[in-house]
């Protein structure tokens, strides 16, 4: 056991306790949390900083608003309904098409308007919000994933998580839903985590649960060729998230839209630790690298350049 601990230390593996005490508590001031926990505020701030986010179609605050739901949804082909203060992708309803009056989920399942209304009512009563507070539902445009990246996913949209520390992107991974994960991008539910090289956006390795994989278990596409498109833009956007939120330690979730390019789906002030497993790199090595730089007050572009230099990227 002590041997394991020593090895983990040597690799710079960040544990949950250290993350909570040494990073989240120290670098993320509590009063800034609503900016990332509340998606409307995130959208508002993102717009100011010129960061693309999915388009907002409507906001449902009260149960009474549900009467107008039909009118709001009828012109839409595809959309996503999310709890404003939800986390971890919980409670999200994704509609990718229509079948007459009814709606189609990405899995092909047909849902009716009353069913959607019920799910929204759940969101409003706070089932998915942190702490069970009454919540608001947000209807936004559906991201049409880049077909190239969709190859690496079963049903759901693969997203790219970048860990940003003090404005420097330090680790990244792509999370690919599988049949087992039920179209969700959560690694513990069986999605594949692909470590992404900060330098150029190519895949380092792919991990599912506790073992390395070469190919996507459902689509059979080889991960070793994976190269995230618009990688430099993603890096820049993630660096900007720091200026936008003021939070020192965040996870930025990106998706790459077919037409609009990379956009921010969600920010997370308590990003998980699975990114270490996907990359085979301990977070602490990178966190300490950035802490060693001191407070330089650089622009996002300069920070990206500096971290690349520090990571000895070949350009």
């Amino acid at each position: 056991m002590f041997d394991t601990i020593a090895k983990m230390r040597k690799m710079g593996v960040l544990g949950m306790n250290a993350r909570n005490v040494a990073y989240i508590a120290r670098y993320n001031p509590r009063h800034l949390f609503p900016l990332v926990d509340d998606k409307l505020k995130t959208k508002e701030a993102a717009r100011k900083y010129g960061i693309r986010v999915p388009e907002l179609y409507g906001v449902i605050r009260y149960t009474g608003d549900l009467k107008n739901l039909g009118a709001l949804l009828s012109p839409l082909d595809g959309f996503a309904i999310k709890p404003l203060r939800g986390s971890g992708g919980k409670g999200i309803i994704i509609i990718s098409g229509r079948e007459g009056e009814n709606f189609l989920k990405p899995s092909g399942k047909v849902v009716t308007l009353p069913e959607i209304r019920r799910d929204i009512s759940n969101i409003l009563s706070g089932v998915y919000s942190l702490g069970g507070r009454p919540d608001t539902a947000v209807v936004e445009s559906l991201v049409r994933g880049l077909p190239y990246l969709l190859n690496y996913s079963f049903e759901g949209l693969p997203d790219i998580r970048v860990i940003v520390f003090k404005g420097y992107p330090i680790l990244a991974m792509m999370r690919c839903p599988t049949r087992r994960s039920d179209g969700k991008a959560n690694l513990h539910q069986g999605a594949v985590g692909v470590g992404i090289d900060i330098c150029d956006g190519h895949a380092i390795r792919a991990v599912r649960k506790d073992y390395l994989v070469d190919k996507h278990p459902d689509t059979g596409v080889d991960f070793s060729d994976l190269q995230i498109p618009d990688w430099d833009e993603i890096l820049l956007l993630s660096a900007k998230c720091y200026d936008m939120t003021g939070l020192g330690y965040i996870g930025c979730d990106f998706v790459v839209d077919e037409n609009r390019g990379p956009m921010i789906l969600e920010l997370n002030a308590r990003p998980g630790l699975a990114v270490q497993i996907a990359n085979g790199i301990g977070l602490k090595t990178r966190l300490e690298l950035v802490e060693g730089l001191g407070n330089l007050e650089l622009h996002p572009e300069e920070r990206v350049a500096l971290i690349k230099e520090k990571l000895r990227c070949r350009d």
Partner: protein, 506 residues
């Protein structure tokens, strides 16, 4: 100071304060550190009997004082029809008075004493030189002769006293001693020895007391004498002429005049009965402290009514449960549904016993989940649905109780101790987890919560833990200190060793 330093400073401060208070209570106030520590308590009953002549009666009894080895816990005076008061001039005496009494009278005085190990030496003031007794000429010759022969065999006052006592106790008593015994009205060896010592100019006094032996009834007071040997008082047993206090001897009266004076009565006597009890050491400690005002005790849960105390007994266990939860979440990394839900479940287990408790809980949550899965199809608002779950839980509890009562299973009746709001909330969360992450996750979190609850239960019902938390609430400070330090722990959790094992293997 850095936040980390402050945490450690306060944690150490709290822990030290808690430890000191605990040690103080254990050592100086004699609170037992271990449960079931017993101390022997002697109940002594003094029974005063006399015949009243028909006029006013005044009864005067010497009362015991606190002394080196024993301590009085409680006193009771039973005196029907008598006025009663305690006089505390030089020595404590009880005074019963009555305008008119006739025929046999009985008065009682009861006290409880316990052995006390405080070895504080009594302050010694040199007594005044004794006044020589009045003898008849014959007695005087005999007394002087005895004193003379004792002097020859002794070196100082104490050895003189011992020699004198030996002469008085000798089987083949010297003629002089026999003469003195015959002449005195009250043939008490102790009294005679004191008179002889006074004649020789040595201060001495009488000690009356009893032997503390279980189930001893109708004991007469025994006499010892105490001789002043220049700088200290030394006790002699006049019967055996040996030095020191006999074992189990309880000194009732030290010096002073007679033990019992009755005015307006005759044939007065006092007899003692002794009964020994083993009483929990805590009760003794508390009784000892009743008279003294100790802030630690005054502002303590002991000052609350008994029924409130039992509630506190439970409340004081909650921090222990919380500590278990903190350890499991921070050090082990076990997932539980609801942070402190396991503590509440553990509290319920205390009432229901472990195995019936687990069975009831699993059934309750299981049936609740099943009903909840139907409710989720009815499109209710969350608060209404939660309320519906609460009502379902109440109905289930009532149903189980009635059913089990009919079946003769008393254990299930304790179902009401489960906090129903918490159960309802648990059902609600579990059912959401079920919908979101599948039954496997429900099982995982459910098992985690149950494991933590069971361990919290086992710790909380540990005899020593129960005893310590209740009797030493100061331990809360120690717990606070430990929890603060744990709150700073940035090392790996036990489960992370498994989670990241894959990382280091590659």
């Amino acid at each position: 100071m850095s936040p980390k330093g402050q945490v450690y400073l306060f944690a150490i401060l709290f822990a030290v304060a808690g430890l000191c208070l605990t040690a103080y209570k254990a050592h100086f106030l004699h609170f037992p550190l271990l449960p079931d520590e017993k101390r022997q308590v002697w109940s002594v009953e003094a029974k005063l009997t006399f015949n009243a002549r028909g006029g006013p009666v005044k009864v005067d009894l010497a009362l015991p004082e606190d002394q080196q080895q024993y301590r009085v816990l409680d006193e009771v005076f039973a005196s029907a029809g008598y006025g009663f008061s305690i006089q505390e001039e030089t020595l404590r005496r009880a005074l019963w008075t009555r305008q008119e009494a006739r025929g046999p009278q009985t008065l009682y005085y009861k006290l409880e004493v316990t052995q006390h190990l405080d070895e504080q030496a009594n302050p010694v003031e040199p007594p005044e030189a004794p006044t020589p007794p009045v003898w008849t000429p014959v007695e005087r010759v005999a007394a002087l002769s005895l004193i003379e022969s004792a002097r020859r065999l002794s070196a100082d006052d104490l050895s003189f006293a011992q020699q004198l006592l030996q002469m008085l106790t000798d089987q083949h008593m010297a003629q002089d001693a026999q003469l003195l015994f015959a002449a005195s009205e009250d043939p008490s060896r102790a009294q005679l020895a004191i008179q002889l010592l006074a004649e020789a100019g040595i201060p001495a006094r009488m000690i009356r007391g009893i032997y503390l032996e279980n189930r001893l009834y109708n004991q007469r007071p025994e006499e010892l004498i105490e001789v002043y040997g220049g700088e200290r008082w030394v006790i002699f047993n006049p019967i055996t002429a040996t030095e020191g206090i006999p074992k189990n001897f309880y000194m009732w009266q030290r010096g002073g005049r007679s033990m019992l004076d009755v005015i307006g009565g005759y044939n007065s006597q006092v007899r003692f009965s002794v009964l020994s009890n083993d009483i929990s050491a805590k009760a003794v400690a508390l009784q000892e402290l009743q008279s003294e005002s100790v802030a630690l005790i005054d502002f303590n849960i002991y000052s609350l009514p008994i029924d409130k105390q039992t509630i506190f007994k439970m409340l004081l266990l909650v921090p222990i449960g919380a500590l278990v939860v903190v350890i499991f979440r921070v050090l082990v990394g076990l997932k539980t549904s609801g942070t402190f839900m396991p503590v509440l479940i553990a509290l319920a287990f205390i009432q229901t016993q472990l195995l019936p408790g687990i069975a009831i809980l699993v059934t309750l949550v299981g049936v609740g989940l099943w009903i909840r899965s139907y409710l989720s199809k009815l499109d209710l608002l969350m608060v209404a649905r939660l309320a519906a779950v609460v009502i379902t839980v109440v109905i289930l509890m009532a149903g189980f109780s009635i059913l089990s009562y009919k079946l003769g299973l008393d254990q299930v009746m304790t179902i009401t101790f489960f906090p129903m709001i918490i159960i309802a909330w648990t059902i609600e969360r579990m059912s959401i987890v079920w919908e979101e992450d599948g039954p496997k996750e429900v099982l995982r979190q459910g098992t985690g919560s149950l494991v933590v609850a069971v361990i919290a239960y086992l710790v909380m019902t540990n005899r020593y833990v129960e005893h310590l938390t209740y009797n030493f609430p100061e331990i809360l400070l120690i717990e606070l200190g430990i929890i603060m330090v744990l709150g700073q722990y940035t090392g790996y959790r036990l489960t992370e060793l498994k989670r990241f094992r894959f990382l280091i293997d590659k």
